[in-house]
């Protein structure tokens, strides 16, 4: 599309909206989604969402990202993009702090900036979070509690005590379990260093100390894999419930054998669609307000709060619960 025509079209559109209140149908925007790294299943799944959005709306929406998981490369890529001046960019920052200057520059040039998984980003219009972390932890725990019959000893692992999200998930779970008098929390928040082997060893120690343990909740994606292996080796698949944040590609094997009972996460495909939709709404001059329906599963009634900068944080309820029954639906 030639830039000049675009400008004229955009000018006309603004004029039309402003003067007559008419919305020009099928206005074509260029929206670029920048992910942390390309080629991994998670962001491949996100790209499906971006493509779906492009197909449905006819907008020029596409996804890009560095070939290596590297903040500097992502920065370079966005700098180049800003020079090309698309209508909007939707960024999943590798390191939000590194990107602040270039996103500021983008905003100054009139590019709409949307982010995802960066609720501390200052230079953004809307940051999109799939869910509230505490609510997510509570939801995982609720599934665990149900599996345990709302009673028995349980524990929760975190990757590290310094990880903010892991602690929010764990705290959400702990708060939820307090609702049930039979649920007895033991040796909470053991650290696993995001290493399945450590999770395995800690799980074995817990099993040794509490032979009657009934439930485990994991936080790092590798936690349930390690716990699951310990459960499987001990032959306790049917006696102990295991839930945690993870992905089918990591926990699938243990979900199939029953060592892990269920996992929770959010679907990057939906997040991809939502980012693009929000970008489009901003371009169209619309505001996203509390309780709004964004037309995507899990984002039917979003909460909107003030972000750390001028922008806002949009939170959905986009939990994806996976167990043996729907494991096949997710390939990442």
């Amino acid at each position: 599309m030639k830039r000049k025509t675009l400008w004229i079209a955009a000018g006309l559109a603004a004029l039309a909206v402003g003067v007559t209140g008419l919305v020009l149908a099928q206005k074509k925007y260029t929206i670029v989604t920048v992910v942390k790294i390309t080629g991994i299943n998670w962001f491949n799944r996100m790209e499906e969402g971006v493509k779906e959005y492009a197909k449905e709306t006819g907008n020029n929406a596409y996804q890009t990202g560095p070939a290596q998981a590297d903040a500097a490369q992502q920065l370079k890529l966005i700098q180049d993009l800003v020079a090309k001046k698309p209508d909007a960019i939707a960024v999943v920052p590798f390191d939000p702090a590194v990107l602040e200057p270039v996103l500021k520059q983008a905003l100054e040039r009139g590019i709409k900036v949307i982010t995802h998984e960066a609720d501390n980003q200052v230079n953004t219009l809307y940051d999109i979070e799939a869910f509230d972390n505490v609510a997510f932890g509570a939801r995982l725990n609720e599934r665990l509690a149900k599996c345990m019959g709302y009673s028995g000893k349980w524990t929760v692992f975190v990757g590290s005590l310094g990880s903010k999200t892991h602690n929010q998930w764990a705290d959400g779970g702990i708060a939820n379990a307090k609702k049930y008098s039979g649920m007895q929390l033991v040796d909470a928040k053991q650290e696993t260093a995001d290493d399945a082997e450590k999770a395995y060893q800690k799980a074995k120690e817990i099993l040794k100390k509490y032979p009657d343990i009934k439930g485990f909740q994991g936080s790092a994606s590798t936690d349930v894999a390690g716990i699951g292996r310990a459960i499987e080796e001990a032959g306790l698949n049917d006696k102990v419930c295991v839930f945690g944040t993870s992905l089918p590609s990591i926990a699938g094997k243990y979900i199939e054998t029953g060592a892990v009972d269920g996992i929770g996460f959010w679907d990057p495909k939906d997040a991809g669609i939502v980012m693009n939709k929000v970008a489009q709404m901003v371009l169209e001059g619309k505001k996203i307000t509390d309780g709004m329906n964004l037309g995507v599963k899990g984002y039917e009634k979003v909460s909107v709060t003030k972000g750390p900068g001028q922008g806002f944080i949009i939170r959905g309820n986009a939990f994806v619960d996976v167990d043996k029954s729907n494991l096949k639906d997710y390939n990442f």
Binding site: A193, K208, A225, G235
Partner: protein
């Protein structure tokens, strides 16, 4: 008179004297003391299952530690072995999955130790060639190897490891069912540690190479003066440490049933601490296989038993640090004595 008098006996206690001569006895004492304390607090510790868990958890750390022992004995230090291990385990898994996913365990084993050996030799070559402090060199190679792995090889966890690795990881040496109905087992992989320990012991105490390693660790200029090929010694110790890193990495992935490129890096200080607590000095020229193994058991026991004795997770690092400090304090007293 000095001519015929024995070397000065500096302490009246023969027990202490024995500890001075054989630092591994000190490590053994610490291991037994700690076991006693843990067992008194939680008797569950005194079960065969605990022993199996301890040996199993010591397998990979032990394999790494024996490599580090050789480097320390030769007066160097290696902090890159975890990065080498992660590189080897991940690259080997990917390679085998793509080329021969049904190959027996021997194939990934050979590939992984081959990669490890090459990367270790690179360390040795740089350290000798540029006369650079091995700490700095291996910090550099650690970053480089890890960066290369994450940037060019991959960042995704691989759950479906090759058949051979999977089977090896699940293969048990012993297995029994506890009173509570839970199964306990010791993986065959533990035998690899035994084999590596025997090999390392043989090299260190039964070959000229072994003595040359200690000699170089004692003094490089003197070793050169006495015709000891220092370059060969450096290449060997770093190559050996790399090879064991490759082996340990592969065993880690097999036992873990998961090839995770983010694993292991960050644990190198635990391993080095184990070797030092086993009686090797960071300044080089000392250290034994049996001491190193005991040091590994000590560190693994500290790391894995804090749950049993009920230390809250927020305090675990403090307690681990305190025990290591205490142990090293005992060690330095020994050296002063």
């Amino acid at each position: 008179m000095a001519l015929t008098s024995p070397p000065q006996t500096r302490s009246p206690f023969s027990v202490w004297q024995a500890l001075v001569q054989r630092p591994e006895l000190l490590t053994l004492t610490l291991v037994l003391l700690l076991a006693l304390v843990i067992g008194l607090i939680n008797p569950v510790f005194f079960t065969p299952q605990s022993l199996f868990d301890l040996l199993r958890a010591s397998t990979v750390t032990g394999i790494f530690a024996l490599g580090v022992l050789l480097v320390l004995a030769a007066g160097g230090i290696d902090v890159s072995f975890t990065a080498i291990a992660a590189f080897c385990l991940y690259t080997t898994t990917l390679l085998v999955l793509n080329v021969a996913p049904d190959a027996p365990f021997a194939l990934p084993l050979l590939i992984s130790i081959g990669f490890g050996l090459l990367l270790g030799l690179l360390n040795g070559l740089i350290v000798h060639r540029f006369r650079a402090p091995s700490l700095i060199v291996t910090i550099g190679t650690q970053y480089m190897i890890r960066g290369f792995l994450l940037a060019f090889i991959g960042t995704k966890h691989i759950m479906n490891i090759p058949e051979g690795m999977d089977r090896f990881g699940r293969w048990s040496l012993f297995q029994f069912t506890t009173a509570e109905g839970a199964r306990a087992s010791l993986p065959v992989a533990f035998l690899l540690l035994v084999a590596v320990a025997l090999l390392t012991w043989w090299i260190l105490s039964r070959t000229l190479l072994g003595r040359a390693i200690y000699a170089v660790g004692g003094s490089v200029p003197i070793a050169e003066r006495l015709g000891i090929p220092v370059r060969s010694v450096y290449l060997f110790v770093f190559g050996y440490a790399g090879l064991l890193a490759g082996l340990g990495g592969l065993v880690h992935a097999s036992l873990n049933q998961l090839a995770n490129p983010f694993d292991l890096v960050g644990t190198e200080l635990d391993v080095i601490a184990a070797v030092v607590l086993g009686g090797a000095r960071v300044t080089g020229g000392t250290g034994t296989v049996i001491g190193t193994l005991l040091g590994v058991v000590l560190v693994v026991m500290i790391n894995n038993s804090l749950i049993l004795i009920g230390v809250p997770s927020t305090w675990q690092k403090v307690v681990i640090g305190a025990i290591i400090l205490l142990a090293s304090g005992v060690f330095s007293r020994r050296k002063l004595a």
